[in-house]
């Protein structure tokens, strides 16, 4: 067999493995999320199906498969049926450039390289990733629009606006890493980190924070899950979907989570490497998996903790905070790279900016608290309070005996209006 044929066979087999693995991980990700959130909320979570609830995903899958798949009469049928598939397709192909190990994991022969643990090492890997992930919005927008439901339409519009806004910040945040590494290839970036002896999180802390926020918004996870905000829009673009079509969307969401976590791990945390320990056979996968799992856990953690942000506030954060910051980061990193400054120059700069932002936010909150706190009164809790405790003299009890009680205390103090 020629090398070319091997490469083709290898690509097909690896794709099949990746798809199978992703779908399995998606299924168990749902279980893990439910169990972990349950722990956060002092519940037990699903533990009935199989030992430790391990068969729960199977049960869910069966249920979804046998559910009636409703197509509303007002839906545009073709697009309605296609759009979940678009979502999943896009989510899956984005994973093609994620490296789980080095090119030379199995050896240096062409055949061994063809079986390297990633589907493709594109020299424009990051660009490809950005391009594909911006396609993901099509699945959502088309699905929401074609449902013929107002809630779905609102969800789809929110999603479109959100993705467009945050796509920009993601691209600019990642550009700093690209400048440091000098390559767009995902494998190349990991190699660059090994060569420079650091993880790029150290050189680009600001870019990482920006990426983390924007990526959460990009994959529609809490607190940025506006497109499917359950309490506002019923289920947003998902409202009219049922059965397997609904689970396809879920699948896309979870696979997107895995993908953005992989990007974060690869670009900022050295991918499969861990200070030379990746040399041990089999360990690159472990390191990679651990890193991604930590990110996924953080996704769940955030979801369990934070309230949802509002649509206009989301836009404001995206355009007025994330975008300027990422441009600042880009400019400074460009300077540092051009002038040949060491990596810690941009690292310190990023940390400095983060510190300034934190101080500004904290002070603003403090200022608001101070302005609103009532003077004098010892409030048991230090509250940022426009609320005061009104003391109303207790009405004198009716021991006067003449049958007439003192006037019930009039609403005391001033009746303020704002």
């Amino acid at each position: 067999m020629s090398d070319v044929a091997w490469i083709v066979v290898a690509a097909v087999v690896k794709s099949a493995i990746a798809i199978g693995a992703l779908l399995t991980i998606f299924a168990y990700m749902t279980l893990v999320e439910r169990r972990v959130i349950a722990r956060f909320q002092r519940r037990v979570g699903p533990n009935r199906a199989g030992p430790l609830g391990l068969l729960q995903p199977l049960a869910d899958g069966m249920k979804m498969a046998f559910k009636e798949q409703i197509i509303p009469t007002k839906a545009r049928r073709l697009i309605f049926v296609l759009s979940p598939a678009i979502s999943v397709f896009v989510a899956l192909i984005a994973f093609a450039v994620v490296p789980l190990g080095n090119t030379t994991t199995w050896g240096t022969s062409p055949v061994a390289i063809a079986w390297a643990p990633f589907i493709a090492d594109l020299n424009v890997g990051v660009l490809y990733m950005l391009a594909i992930s911006s396609l993901a919005v099509y699945g959502i927008v088309l699905g929401g629009w074609s449902s013929g439901n107002h809630y779905s339409l609102l969800g789809a519009l929110r999603s479109a606006a959100q993705m467009v806004s945050y796509e920009v910040s993601i691209g600019l945040a990642l550009a700093g890493v690209l400048m440091l590494s000098g390559t767009l290839s995902m494998v190349g970036i990991v190699h660059a980190q090994v060569a420079q002896g650091i993880w790029f999180i150290l050189a680009q802390p600001l870019a990482f924070v920006l990426y983390a926020i924007a990526a959460t918004a990009e994959v529609n996870r809490a607190p940025f899950d506006l497109p499917e905000a359950e309490q506002e829009l019923v289920a947003g673009y998902l409202t009219e979907f049922s059965g397997l079509r609904w689970s396809l969307y879920q699948m896309a969401e979870y696979i997107n989570m895995i993908t953005v976590s992989s990007i974060a791990a690869t670009l900022f945390f050295g991918g499969w490497t861990l200070g030379g320990l990746e040399g041990i056979p089999g360990m690159p996968f472990v390191w990679y998996t651990i890193k991604v799992a930590i990110f996924l856990f953080i996704f769940i953690w955030v979801r369990a903790t934070l309230p949802r942000i509002r649509y206009d506030q989301l836009m404001k954060v995206g355009w007025q905070a994330l975008l300027p910051l990422s441009i600042i980061n880009l400019v400074f990193t460009g300077l540092a790279v051009a002038l040949g400054w060491p990596w810690w120059a941009s690292g310190l700069f990023g940390l400095g900016v983060l510190l300034i932002v934190a101080v500004v936010l904290y002070n603003r909150l403090r200022l608001r608290q101070a302005m609103e706190r009532q003077s004098g009164e010892a409030v048991p809790l230090a509250l940022p309070s426009s609320v005061r405790l009104v003391r109303i003299a207790p009405a004198t009890a009716s021991e006067s005996g003449d049958g007439v009680v003192a006037a019930p205390a009039a609403p005391a103090e001033s009746v303020t209006t704002s």
């Binding site: 839906a75 506002e232 019923v234 979801r303 903790t305 942000i309 506030q313 005391a412 209006t417 704002s418």
Partner: protein, 410 residues
């Protein structure tokens, strides 16, 4: 083909002609009666311009169960149980209002122990109701863990109610003439344990939400209700106090012994969602104070009026005493007959001013029982609040006025 195409296109429900030939289209969405965050079966017909509310129209009645009519067909003794079902998150507050009204009709006064026990129970109920409110309104804004934490604490309170009455929610434990049964042994200890535990938990909620930037952004300055509008629209409870009007029935028209306790009324200033939130949060503190005082002063002695015409005799007497048997029989078959007259008793339920207007014609059944439901009146302010707000703010506003549809529709 043409018609099919039209049928699958989203309709423009309303539009407005602008200058220069442009047109503004509005969209109508139906929020409810089946919607995750309308707290039951409230239906809001929202006219939207993009995501901005142009017009909102509440449509209620989906949970109308005819409680007022039902009560007319029952004896005073039995009509008590339907009051539980109105504000099903605070049944004891309803019981208290009803009992006070019937006692006023009868012209009787309950013993001290019942008075104090009622205050303890009503304040526990207030905390429980506020916990459900806090959990659900946080859930509406996406903070889902708070919901379960609140229910964890509410469970402790419901356990106390179960200890007293055997029932967790629809207890009917407070009844005209006192309590259904004496406070059980261990009650005081359980309440004291709760008093020791709850401030810490309350602190946790504050940590999770009060200074949380996302929470403040979502609630501060949102859905404002100016004080004069709140008064004109008949709002009461935290909805009114959040707007800066210090009106609390417990202070303005003390009932059921509230004049004996030392507590303050939290009052907001801005009338926004955040102030209403804080008012309720601080009210829980004050309720704890009241419970503490009432528990310290809880006297012994009888827990019911000494009148076998009004309260059923103890079971052991029914089987040994002829007279008690007759009283028992008379009470459960016929009931008592208050003199003809009418009373209106206002109480401060967790939702606001809960008024019972009872008319007696001298027979054994209430001729008319009207309930001034606080949620019903507070709901009137909702369209005004959410005018010009976003869809996302609507759920915040609904959460902040804390309506219970069982009470709105009765």
């Amino acid at each position: 083909m043409q018609t099919e195409e039209r049928a699958t296109t989203l309709e423009v429900d309303e539009s407005e002609q602008l200058e220069g030939g442009a047109r503004r289209d509005y969209m109508t969405i139906n929020m409810g009666p089946q919607h995750p965050s309308t707290h039951g079966v409230l239906r809001l017909i929202l006219t939207l311009d993009g995501e901005t509310i142009v017009k909102a129209q509440p449509d209620i009645g989906y949970l109308h169960t005819g409680i007022e009519k039902t009560a007319e067909g029952k004896s005073y003794f039995k009509a008590l149980v339907v009051t539980d079902r109105m504000d099903y998150l605070a049944p004891l507050a309803n019981n208290l209002g009803y009992s006070l009204a019937v006692e006023k009709l009868l012209g009787i006064e309950v013993p001290e122990r019942a008075l104090y026990a009622r205050v303890i129970l009503a304040e526990l109920q207030r905390i429980a109701s506020h916990l459900v409110w806090l959990g659900t309104s946080a859930l509406d804004l996406g903070a889902q863990s708070v919901f379960l934490y609140c229910f964890r604490e509410r469970e402790i309170i419901l356990d106390i109610f179960e200890l007293c009455s055997g029932v967790r929610m629809m207890t009917s434990y407070i009844m005209p003439g006192g309590l259904q049964a004496d406070l059980p042994p261990g009650f005081e200890q359980r309440v004291r344990d709760f008093l020791a535990l709850f401030p810490k938990r309350l602190r946790e909620y504050h940590d999770l939400l009060t200074n949380n930037r996302l929470w403040v952004d979502r609630t501060k300055g949102i859905c404002k209700l100016p004080a004069e509008d709140a008064v004109r629209l008949g709002c009461t409870g935290a909805t009114l106090r959040g707007s800066g009007v210090a009106y609390d029935v417990r202070k303005a028209f003390p009932y059921g012994g509230y004049e004996r306790f030392d507590f303050d009324i939290p009052v907001g200033a801005n009338g926004d969602v955040y102030d209403r939130y804080l008012v309720r949060m601080l009210e829980m503190d004050q309720s704890l104070r009241i419970i503490q005082q009432a528990l310290d002063g809880l006297p012994g002695g009888p827990w019911q009026v000494d009148d076998p015409k009004i309260v059923p005799p103890p079971k052991y007497m029914v089987s040994s005493n002829m007279e008690a048997l007759i009283h028992h029989f008379k009470l459960y078959t016929e009931g008592y007959r208050p003199p003809a007259g009418e009373v209106y008793v206002r109480t401060e339920s967790p939702k606001g001013e809960l008024g019972f207007y009872m008319v007696s014609d001298g027979s054994a059944r209430p001729y008319r029982m009207h309930v001034r439901a606080p949620s019903f009146a507070n709901l009137q302010a909702l369209p005004l609040m959410i005018q010009g707000a976003f869809v996302a703010d609507v759920v915040a506003a609904i959460g902040s006025i804390d309506i219970v549809l069982g009470e709105v529709d009765r």
